[in-house]
Symmetry: C2
Subunit: 96 residues, 2 copies
């Protein structure tokens, strides 16, 4: 899995409008809000199962009802299509 | 639940030798290493169930096989005995 090309990177804002670049890193992040910790952890569990299935693991940060995910491909040192595809799949079950 | 007294704070290094102060914050942190993500997430799930039972929720940070927990009592703006007791209970099931 290769790094995204400059053209692919330029298309990210349109393809993944809910994800943002991470300052100083080749990575994408999205924050999520929930009613309470139970809902946040249920979401984290969905992400965990997806991460195991894809063998691609986001950084997960949780504080009570808030979750932040950061996606990057450590093996290629930046963003790959694995990150894009994972972000798209997370968006299918994440709250808007 | 009140803030720890100065004497109680001074005893933390001895009472919780695996936990460290967080720079610039009234909080305690501990890092944990596991064989893989599955083991790390199993531990996070134990922490989540404990957090719900005690109604006291640590900050949780995870990257693949590593977990970091940060404990503080937001309601009193610093460390309370709730943090100390939770750290002690986490230590009973965490890897050394």
């Amino acid at each position: 899995m290769a790094l995204l090309s400059p053209i692919e990177r330029a298309s990210l804002a349109e393809r993944l409008p809910l994800w943002r670049p991470v300052s100083g890193r080749q990575a994408l992040k999205r924050g999520f809000h929930f009613i309470d910790f139970k809902q946040a952890f249920a979401f984290m569990t969905q992400v965990a199962l997806l991460a195991e299935r894809r063998d691609h693991h986001p950084e997960i940060y949780n504080l009570y009802n808030r979750v932040e995910l950061i996606l990057t491909s450590h093996d290629v040192g930046g963003l790959s299509m694995r990150d894009v595809q994972m972000a798209e799949e997370i968006d299918t079950f994440a709250p808007r």
